[in-house]
Amino acid sequence: MVLGRAFEDKCAKMYYDRKMLGFVHLYNGQEAVSTGFIRLLKQQDSIVCTYRDHVQALSKGLSARAVMSELLGKATGCCRGQGGSMHIFSRKHNMLGRFAFIGEGIPIATGAAFTSKYKREVLKEADCGHVSLTFFGDGTCNNGQFYECLNMAALWKLPIVFVVENNLWAIGMSHLRATSVPQIYKKGPAFGMPGVHVDGMDVLKVREVAKEAIGRARRGEGPTLVECETYRFRGHSLADPDKLRDPAEKAHYAARDPITALKKYLIENSLANEADLKAIDKR
């Protein structure tokens, strides 16, 4: 989480220094979701995300250097500079891409889950209990492809977890203004899968829910829809002046910063002390 935060802050600095171009979407504030889920995965499990996912890439195991080089358009980047910020792919880490259009990644992840089940049941390959995770936001939950895939994943009992990072804002559109039924987790049971809501600012709570959902998928019990209530501290992208959001709302969530919260928890429960945490920060 700390690496993720530091990475994103560095991106912001590079962008404002005009060393980084194009669209850059930062993840500050949402680190608990990425860490909570992805650190539970194996290398062969796959993830698919949208454009706000430098930190997902780092959690999945790509090196910070490879991702940063990619964002700077260098040939040493993970996609030789051909993909850019919005299109990080890594075959080795099974990061099957980040997509620019919301909803685009959901069928791709569903296809990967399909392949995993097909390899196990039809081709009878061993060691195929691979799971797919797809990360997307609240805005995507009003998009047609989301519903098409909830239906097909439940119909065919695919090993996938749909992770909603509900940060209440789809670019500049408030989730509450855009959605007839804002409780996204309720949409899971309508398609025959469990829908779970979790505090996305608390990494330990996310991890608990993630363990259960990933376990279900691996055991062949089918998909789960998880709604993580989270918040992005910065604007939609670095070009976004972010004037629409209420400062009181931002302050409310800043007080629930996942990194600060975890630090507090570790110290209160004597799992680590100040010195250990400072050492992590330094690295």
Binding site: C79, I108, T115, K119, G144, Q145, E148, M152, L155
Partner: protein
């Protein structure tokens, strides 16, 4: 000259092929053959589309596949093109070789984001890490009286996109050889069939019926040699070409729209000095426009007349049969164009 027997092949079931010097195979059963054979060779193939299994495919192309390969490999999906096309692409990313059928390519517009952004561009965006060995197939272009939303030709929409290959078979030999090549290809391929040709029979040789028969992608075929003019065509338009007479035209069946076989086309124009391009789709930014540009770039000094471009009418396809006939190029249009190119009639500009 190949004679085309026009037998209606309704309800043809898949039969064992008996070896013979020349056997009539229908276009549709040639396509099915390939899928069967390829399933036999490559264990990972899987086909999924809407209603392909129990409904036997919109035009019965996939008849018999479900019985032979079972529901795990021949997958019926709900009618959700965006969703199931994306799922196919995701499956291709992760190791399978899917064949996705659209009822017609008009419906591919619901899924075009996945064809272009998720399939075509991924190999490049990932710097070669992700390969997408997927085939999108189905009927393309005008049918008979199905109206504007069911009649468009999508050849140029897909052919303009780097990362895709676009093929269009004319006869059974093309259908068999090109579909096999498409499935074997590691990149996404758009395979444009023609509904009105499904019921046609064409003679094929033993070589074509052999299980290893495969055609190269990117090579056109000279269906008929000639010396007065070059006519390029693909899919059903090639059928019209072979009936024309009078001028000894060299007829090129393009087979591959992307990559376009510029070498064959230019070599032919350098021989005949005149070019007529024929296509069914809308005229603006069409296949003919690209061929014309290619010839102007590479063989300008060999042209003895302006390039004639024959295409469908610049209107959404009308429903009434007489209007529909006028909206699609007919043999007479092509003959007139050929005569203009050979200076046997007044050029178009002079009549304006």
């Amino acid at each position: 000259m190949l004679a085309i027997a026009r037998q209606r092949m309704l309800g043809q079931s898949f039969k064992k092929i008996l070896p013979a010097v020349s056997v009539l195979r229908s276009y549709s059963s040639a396509a099915k053959q390939v899928i069967f054979f390829t399933f036999f060779i490559l264990a990972h193939n899987l086909m999924h589309t809407d209603m392909v299994g129990e409904y036997q495919g919109a035009y019965k192309i996939t008849k018999g596949l479900l019985e032979k390969y079972g529901p795990e490999r021949v997958l019926d999906t709900p009618i959700t093109e965006a969703g199931f096309t994306g799922i196919g692409v995701g499956a291709a990313y992760y190791g399978l070789k899917p064949v996705v059928e659209f009822m017609t390519f008009n419906f591919s517009m619901q899924a075009i984001d996945h064809i272009i952004n998720s399939a075509a561009k991924s190999n490049y965006m990932s710097a070669g890490q992700i390969s997408v060995p997927i085939v999108f197939r189905g009927p393309n272009g005008a049918a008979a009286g199905v109206g504007a939303q069911h009649s468009q030709c999508y050849a140029v929409w897909y052919a303009s996109c780097p990362g895709l290959k676009v093929l269009s078979p004319y006869n059974s030999e093309d259908a068999r050889g090109l579909l096999k090549a498409a499935i074997r290809d590691p990149d996404p391929v758009v395979f444009l069939e023609n509904e009105l040709l499904y019921g046609e029979s064409f003679p094929v040789s033993d070589e074509v019926l052999d299980s290893s028969f495969c055609l190269p992608i990117g090579k056109a075929k000279i269906e008929r040699e000639g010396k007065d003019a070059t006519i390029t065509a693909f899919s059903k338009m090639a059928a019209e070409m072979l009936e024309k007479d009078g001028i000894c035209a060299e007829v090129i069946n393009l087979r591959s729209i992307r990559p376009l076989d510029r070498a064959t086309i230019n070599a032919s124009v350098r021989k005949t000095n005149r070019l007529i391009t024929v296509e069914e789709g809308f005229p603006q930014h069409g296949v003919g426009a690209e061929i014309c540009a290619s010839v102007v770039e590479e063989s300008f000094s060999y042209l003895d007349a302006p390039v004639e471009r024959i295409a469908g009418a610049d209107v959404p396809m009308p429903y009434a049969a007489n209007l529909e006939r006028m909206a699609v190029p007919q043999v007479e249009d092509i003959v007139r164009a050929a005569k203009r190119a050979c200076y046997r009639s007044v050029p178009l500009a002079a009549t304006a």
